[in-house]
Amino acid sequence: MEETGLLLLLLILPVLFYLTSRARAGKGGKLRSLPGMDELSGLVGRSAETGQPIHISVGIAGVGGAATAETWAGLTLLEHLADQATASDTPLIVTLADATVLPVAQDILWRAYVRNGNPGGYDPTQVRLIAPDPMAYTAGVIGLLEREPLTANVMVGSFGDEYLLMGEAGARQGVHQIVGAADPRTLPFVYASADEALVGEEMFAGGAYTRRLPIQIGSLLAEDWARWAIAAAILVLAILKIVL
């Protein structure tokens, strides 16, 4: 198993560097439109107009576990929204369930305030640890969605079945919802309750869509290449199994 992982890593690294150099030379191609990502850029403006905050959830997992990449996908979008929000003095409410994410999320928010020349505007209680238990976290977020007037509800990270209770609460309140999840068991619930869904790998593309660094675009292209290679391998092996 470790050997397969190492082989995949060694195969993908040169491809990543090659595609990054192409992206740096302006040959990265055009990123296809993701409605969820497109919607994100307009949220802060809408929030500034209404004066109502945006709620951002980075999921129920922490950093350091199996779902770190999913949590980081949420934190990447938080960084993007925090940069826009602090520039227009728009409030954000960030909720999380794992204490390991708390200092990271607070630091992201604080740095956004510093970058925009307003470190005094930072309020550490904008980031709220609700509860480490998924159901208790859900109850806390439902309370927030029902009590606080919000412009939008952005939830990107690791979620289980309990997501549906939060998604339905948001839908009942008529809050605009952008949700990203990776678990195939949660995705039908996301699809049913969110206005825009970031399905599976789409949630990891946040950095490429918001910062557009060559290595992020190169990494998206490498992902596409790897997917095509794996699909071709599956097809060839299936044909070989039928023929032989």
Partner: protein, 217 residues
Amino acid sequence: MAFLRRILPTATAIAVGLLVLLAVFTSTERLGELGTLLDDVSTRLIDTAVIIAAFALLLGVINVLRVHARKIRKEQAGGVYSIVLIAAMLVVLAFGLLALPGRASGPSQPVVQWIFANILAPIQASLSALLVFAVMTAAYRLLRVRNLESAIMLTVAILVLLGQVTLGLVPILPQLKDWMVDVLAMAGARGILLGVALGALLTGIRLLLGVERPYGD
């Protein structure tokens, strides 16, 4: 300043990440003493991370107290719940810290166990039960025919439901349901999982290379 704020944290994170990754990919049998050393260093680094993460929990408790104390002070909506929350947290903490004769303090304390089993668990179970109603309202919203996608979804849902509860009137329905669940749905789910795995792998590589940094500017 740039060294302290940018270069040092990035270099440390990359070095630690590569060391731990190397220990995962190398077996001690093949590398002998070097492999054992790598394993030891990796385990120590992970243990350090666990200890630091434990301090994050303390920050979390302070955060909960600050958020809810402000709510109570400013007499915001739901302030009563904040009083209940802080009181419950302090009571459980007090009982958890209390060392009874013959028992160490902590979550194994009988009173804490009783609170978990008789208060927390039933509340969690009740919330889980609400999922049934949430699924029904979500299904109602999802299955309203608005476009071709929802029409296909409704057709598949009806076929799967009929296949699940068929009374033998249409013998092909259970087979059709099995094929839809085992082939169509499974293929879709595996496709998503494949994309997620590749996305997570490349996110990890970007973090390891220091392109995306959750620390410092």
